[in-house]
Symmetry: C2
Subunit: 281 residues, 2 copies
């Protein structure tokens, strides 16, 4: 699989960073990730917006403009011949003489087979646990998933599919997904702050606005547990119903009608976007 590495395409074996890079020395790097549907990148402009914003948030500059990045992505897709691919854009702190201050960043773009959630995954839903933690610099998509990876043995022990973070009694997000609830009076609510603003979250909010009342605001742990429906959104998971949280069952323990309708709308949107894009070329 080809990899774009600072101004050139290299083989996967050559996609290596020297250990002096600030990503390895100090965990200082940002990334973004999107996927293709039938070979068409999904919401690429949203992801590029966020990638530029993440880099700027860490005082780093991407030395390629949007059209250049898009051309690199297209070239990688052509070389990979994958119709369902995951594109990972990565910008690291660079080779740092003192192992502490950011230097000229390294840009790495990879293209690999993407594994996305299926209709069966949707029906099965998730059992999750909650954990008190606040991600650092949450608006920035940095590589800091230290606590998330560290929690994996606990998740395995608990038989949980994922972990929902909360802090000071307010829920925020999953390590790689956003959270939504449906209240008893049929309002869709999602946290507004101290989170990474997901691209799927944005599009689900947009779809939902034509269908039911929507609020972005704080959600307490008790409000979460009393919700009639809970679901998560992410690029690879799309929408997954959350059916069990700690020892509580949400609703009747099955995917609810709002979650199901939004899943239908999102799937349709993604399929249509891919089809329209293909027709334009």
């Amino acid at each position: 699989m080809a990899v774009y590495f600072n101004d050139q395409f290299v083989s996967n074996e050559e996609a290596k960073l020297h250990v002096a890079d600030l990503s390895l020395q100090r965990g200082y790097a940002v990334f973004d990730f999107f996927r293709t549907v039938n070979g068409v990148p999904l919401f690429m402009d949203d992801h590029l917006d966020r990638f530029y914003a993440s880099a700027a948030g860490l005082y780093m500059t991407i030395n390629k403009n949007r059209e250049e990045l898009k051309a690199i992505v297209q070239e990688l897709l052509q070389r990979s011949s994958l119709s369902e691919a995951g594109i990972r854009l990565m910008l690291t702190g660079g080779y740092s003489a003192d192992s502490y201050h950011s230097m000229t960043p390294n840009l790495i773009i990879t293209c690999n087979p993407a594994k996305t959630a299926t209709a069966d995954d949707f029906e099965k839903g998730y059992s999750v646990i909650t954990y008190e933690h606040q991600r650092q610099l949450p608006h920035i998509k940095s590589i800091n998933y230290l606590v998330a990876v560290w929690l994996q043995p606990l998740l395995k022990e608990k038989g949980a599919d994922d972990v929902l973070y909360h802090y000071n009694n307010i829920i925020t997000e999953f390590p790689r997904s956003n959270v939504f609830i449906v209240t008893a009076d049929n309002i869709l609510v999602t946290p507004a702050r101290n989170i990474l603003y997901g691209i799927t979250r944005k599009h689900v909010l947009s779809l939902a606005a034509g269908y039911l009342p929507v609020e972005e605001r704080d959600i307490t742990l008790p409000e979460l547990m009393n919700a009639t429906e809970v679901f998560l959104t992410s690029t690879t998971k799309k929408i997954i119903p959350v059916l069990h949280i700690d020892n509580n069952t949400i609703g009747n323990g099955k995917p609810g009608p709002v979650t199901r309708e939004l899943y239908r709308q999102l799937t349709t949107l993604q399929t249509n976007l891919a089809a329209n894009e293909q027709n334009c070329h």
Copy 2:
């Protein structure tokens, strides 16, 4: 400069990790760092203890025992011919198929010229700022210095030498150093929890115990500002007086007598350890 990389010595140019490593994908890695005095590793056993503990804390195993690691360090020192070297031991999460779960770790040990604080640095002291932040998994020496590196432009703007973290009104540590205060009634106090337990901190506590009362406990921000002396400890900085914090001057703005005496004792200890070790060989 030679680098030890998994089971072999490689050139510095070859010391590269594939971008699929979990350190690059998710910031999942631990390290430790110590230096040599006249070619003799300083407090190496303490650092190896902490390196093993950090790895275990992230559910990773170092596939070398203590004697094997020491032999590798000695070989690197011989090859480098440096009398004042910095040894960095690093264990990464490994090449992860799903970019999320830890696999077989990669072990990397580097040996580079070390820059340590001088007597002039001691006399000059530090001006620091405070910042509300709690490091994640603070007892584990992970590579997560995201906030520390991100704060560098602010430090530059403020003309500060370093940043002291506090949380809920309690001070904890600097990103790479521990903090000590001397109270008006001449007690040496250092934070006891939510910190990385520094090796220099440990030896300074031990030296101080024969000289003045010592307490390990919470220190509030007001108590910090009213201290008669404040200093920091680290492997490369040894002991540095903290003379200005935000807009406050500590004591008379010059290194205090307790700080000076502990600096003298620590320097003597380090010189003697190196001399004794050399005499034994």
